[in-house]
């Protein structure tokens, strides 16, 4: 990281390649589809490059880069004016992309939705907290730093997000999640 900050182009190349797959995985979970994930991951790399001179090492580079990637994902979704694209398994087990959140299935088939589809139904504040914890393996303090919210809020959002996912994946009526405040 220091070499890349110092202008070493090869170090920067290595740094970006090393982290791309993790960032793509995060974006894939947050956007719910490959195309948006690819665009957002690319934007994230550009954001990292431009922000690198200001990276001060207070957080791990990975934590810092996740923050940039998460914002790139939500910017991408907003730019396209939509929620994450849902992915529903078809009768033969394949995944069909393209159903919108507005046309989401009722609870009778809620147990068939994939994890992407379930995540897509969470407000983004819950989604990013759950994904940073469960996919990226950040602890509460790191997520708190990445999202600039109190650790108590992180804990609450993760718990409520997981509970909502459990309901969606288990075919239960989806719980109503209000947009979270910054308070725990």
């Amino acid at each position: 990281v220091a070499a890349a900050q110092g202008g070493d182009r090869q170090a920067l190349d290595r740094l970006l390649r090393r982290h791309y797959d993790r960032l793509y995985a995060l974006c894939r979970r947050l956007t719910g589809n490959d195309a948006d994930a690819a665009d957002a991951a690319q934007d994230a790399l550009i954001g990292i490059v431009r922000g690198l001179p200001r990276f001060d090492g207070r957080a791990a580079f990975s934590t810092w880069s996740y923050r940039i990637a998460a914002n790139a994902c939500f910017d991408e979704l907003r730019r396209r004016g939509r929620r994450p694209v849902l992915a529903f398994p078809t009768e033969d087990g394949d995944v069909a992309l393209g159903a919108s959140a507005e046309r989401s299935p009722d609870t009778a088939v809620a147990d068939r939705v994939t994890i992407d589809a379930a995540l897509a139904r969470l407000p983004e504040d819950f989604r990013v907290a759950v994904v940073l914890r469960d996919l990226c393996d950040l602890d509460y303090a790191e997520i708190s730093h990445a999202l600039a919210i109190p650790a108590g809020t992180v804990r609450s959002r993760i718990a409520r997000g997981r509970a909502a996912l459990a309901g969606l994946l288990g075919g239960n009526p989806s719980p109503t999640l209000e947009r979270p405040s910054s308070q725990p």
């Binding site: 991951a41 490059v49 923050r67």
Partner: protein, 251 residues
């Protein structure tokens, strides 16, 4: 979902994350229903943790190339922050005769001002001609307002003890050639009166300068941006591209 169920879910979830005190942990382990919930939520966690297919190699290559290209362009254009700050000062100084700066903290008011624009400490109003074009609230944190070019004449914060639910005000005016000044106003909310957080408002798009505090989102001359405060400076960074749009000295 009831508050009680939410509290139990939070216990079960924190148990999975090994984030409970020993007594809480023992409580969870002694409750079969809570342990059943732990198993349910653990299954959810396992699904989320399963990464999808690896990205296409061509995608990776294209993304890295684009970022390196951006780095090259950035390097050609980039000026160290201190130099930007200096340049901004010189440029702004050439454009206008004076700058007024007011900085107030949540529990009091500290005022710094330029020679030709007195800003009396303790006054309560922040009048501008044009008014704000954007305001962002960051949870319990401060909100930030940037007004367009205007001829603001008084920039002040409320005196201690007189602040309303919005708390105290910190403002800085950036002189401009046209007709006056751009105004950065930072409202430090206090107590529990903060408005709900807009989606993502608590998260900056770009990392701020080292040691900087994120203050919220604004629109700077049509460009969505984040405001950071560090070492007595407000740094406005474009959310897309992370360019520093303007640096303003506070107090």
């Amino acid at each position: 979902m009831t508050d009680d169920q939410s509290a139990r879910d939070e216990l079960a979830s924190a148990y999975m994350d090994d984030a409970l005190a020993p007594a809480e942990r023992a409580h969870v382990e002694s409750d079969p229903q809570l342990m059943a919930r732990v198993r349910q939520l653990s299954a959810v966690r396992a699904m989320v943790a399963t990464a999808g297919p690896a990205p296409d190699a061509d995608q990776r290559e294209a993304a890295v190339r684009a970022a390196l290209q951006a780095a090259q362009e950035w390097t050609q254009r980039a000026v160290p922050l201190d130099a930007r700050r200096q340049r901004a000062r010189v440029g702004l100084g050439a454009l206008a005769a004076a700058a007024a700066v007011v900085l107030a903290v949540a529990t009091g008011v500290a005022v710094t001002r330029s020679d030709d624009h007195p800003a009396p400490q303790g006054a309560a109003a922040v009048p501008t001609d044009a008014g704000p074009v954007a305001e962002a609230t960051s949870g319990a944190g401060p909100s930030t307002t940037i007004a367009p070019r205007s001829s603001a004449t008084t920039l002040t914060g409320p005196s201690p003890g007189t602040q309303g639910t919005d708390g105290a005000v910190a403002s800085a005016r950036v002189p401009s050639a046209a007709s006056g000044a751009d105004v950065i106003r930072i409202v430090a909310r206090s107590g529990g009166s903060a408005a709900p957080t807009p989606a993502g408002a608590a998260v900056s798009a770009c990392p701020g300068p080292p040691r900087a505090t994120y203050r919220g989102r604004i629109t700077w001359q049509g460009t969505p941006a984040d405001v950071f405060v560090v070492d007595g400076r407000a740094v406005v960074v474009a959310r897309r591209g992370c360019d520093v749009l303007v640096t303003v000295t506070l107090g």
